[in-house]
Symmetry: C4
Subunit: 196 residues, 4 copies
Amino acid sequence: MRLDDTDRLEAFSDGVLAVIITIMAFGLRTPGGFSWAASRTLLPSLLVYLLSFVMIGIYWNNHHHLLRATEKMDGSVMWSNLAVLFWLSLVPVATSWVARFPHHTLPAAGYGIVALGAGAAYSVLVKCIVAVNGVGSRVEVAVRRDLKGKLSLVLYATGVALAWVNPTVSYALYVAVAVMWFIPDRRLASATTETD
Amino acid sequence: MRLDDTDRLEAFSDGVLAVIITIMAFGLRTPGGFSWAASRTLLPSLLVYLLSFVMIGIYWNNHHHLLRATEKMDGSVMWSNLAVLFWLSLVPVATSWVARFPHHTLPAAGYGIVALGAGAAYSVLVKCIVAVNGVGSRVEVAVRRDLKGKLSLVLYATGVALAWVNPTVSYALYVAVAVMWFIPDRRLASATTETD
Amino acid sequence: MRLDDTDRLEAFSDGVLAVIITIMAFGLRTPGGFSWAASRTLLPSLLVYLLSFVMIGIYWNNHHHLLRATEKMDGSVMWSNLAVLFWLSLVPVATSWVARFPHHTLPAAGYGIVALGAGAAYSVLVKCIVAVNGVGSRVEVAVRRDLKGKLSLVLYATGVALAWVNPTVSYALYVAVAVMWFIPDRRLASATTETD
Amino acid sequence: MRLDDTDRLEAFSDGVLAVIITIMAFGLRTPGGFSWAASRTLLPSLLVYLLSFVMIGIYWNNHHHLLRATEKMDGSVMWSNLAVLFWLSLVPVATSWVARFPHHTLPAAGYGIVALGAGAAYSVLVKCIVAVNGVGSRVEVAVRRDLKGKLSLVLYATGVALAWVNPTVSYALYVAVAVMWFIPDRRLASATTETD
């Protein structure tokens, strides 16, 4: 594969993310009426949509920095990247499920499973990229300590388990992950700045 | 961040806007019959869709000129840009709500709140860009007097409030904002022409 | 505006067209059963979808050749281009209306009105581009005789009128336009070849 | 047509594929409840979605390698490429039909017909590209023996026929094709590597 394959992988991923974000908003159901009662059902939808929107925004940003630091790629990178997109493409359905039944166990757990799947796939993507680019490469140095990534997986898994105790606690944990990642990944950002 | 991050931010935003415009049309419900009566419900849908289409078109155009005049960006620009996209992604739902209940207060007010949110987020985006690029930069000079931006926010807020009096007045105000912006932002257009 | 604004206009238009094509297929309703009877309703849907798909494909191709021959643009080009996209964005709804009620007057006429609107907007776009680029410019020479464009509008208008006589005749006329344009616009294709 | 027409064809195709993948996930119906019973209906949906996702991923990858090896194109390439996109755009509807009625003949056969149509259109696309680029061209050498392509068509056709015997056998054959293509097309990959 040639270097500009990275650009194309990024452009395709960006396209998928752009559609996910927009289609998710479209999945917010138009209130079936015009009264306060009818429109009040919008609030939980909007909150979970906001959470999902921020989550996709974070992936978009980190993915961008990751690929910018990547010099070589192969089929394993392509397929693990598709796996990330696969899990993220389930976010709109999970979002819409939670929006409809916010106080129940299974939707809260399902949302966490999708988030966990995306996070795990992203870790695999990082591993594949490091394997191709080698120890000591720019991208390997940048992601060497992936504390935030590991912590995210732990928090999501805990959120899934606690959905059987109290869905609100699960949501709190999912929000915590989003807040933690809200600050862009400085390791990769600085890696790209240093070298270019 | 490197300069071509601006291009990527613009490409991603363009992608989201392209999906918003198309999905909004898709949200126009196919008439449930083939008679004049069944198809007459299309008219209010088409009018509000046209308004939303023009609104998105205006954002697309101004956003383009804004980013072209931008030389530097950072995380605050990226996130305030995502905030603009977040609010604009709610336009299809607001459009479809108004299309279904055009004569009621809450849909008319809700549409205005979404427009107000997008306008406010755009103002924040402009502020973040100016903060990064500094006083005297090309983009700062171009947006120094943002009368139209401020007036839009006032008109949208008035429209929201007047939805409790008469929704038609609200729509008139929203249309007024669209007409006002229809002419492309000459300040930024000339700024890009002068320098390149 | 700078020259690469043309590229961006084309990229944005391509994005909208890509979403229109895909969302139109998504609008084909999944058969509500698994029997021959349930799936037979798919056939008219598929035929009208095929017609709309070819129509969008033709616009995509001709639009590409048109913009490639275009050297200068301004706000009027941008807005007439958005008008083309506005009309084309109604194609999925018109398609889905015809798919549901293929034997009735209003859906058949509605489809033709959307096609007529898109065709008229495209003519305006061509006029705006010629006005900006001037008589004798590459693009003006290429589009000087626009017989096919004018004939399309006549055929579409006839189709709309004849929907009150027999919808099948309308569809035949719409198909005739598609067949006529199927061959790419050689004038523009050769214009771009000559100069580059 | 100029060489960068290939890039634009690829960008447009990528856009369509990105929307197909995302819209297909959106077609997964949000469970209508929050109980195990309500959510269990998700499993067949997820499995068939996974199969379709991998299928689109494979097309994306092979299409990319094919176009990279392509030096010249004309109208026949453009239209046969649109034919591939046409068939692939039917994948979300076929997927959603199978997801709803996984144990019946017609949905299983319909899915195979769509896959067969896409595969046949892809073969035609390859033939058109070879015809334009000539015997001995890089792309012609790369695709000279197209065993996998021919075998896929046979397997899909067999799957369609066997849907009347047992839909599960059809799905097994469709999965077999996906597994067979999962490994990227080394012929084209090496062709691009050799020359660049």
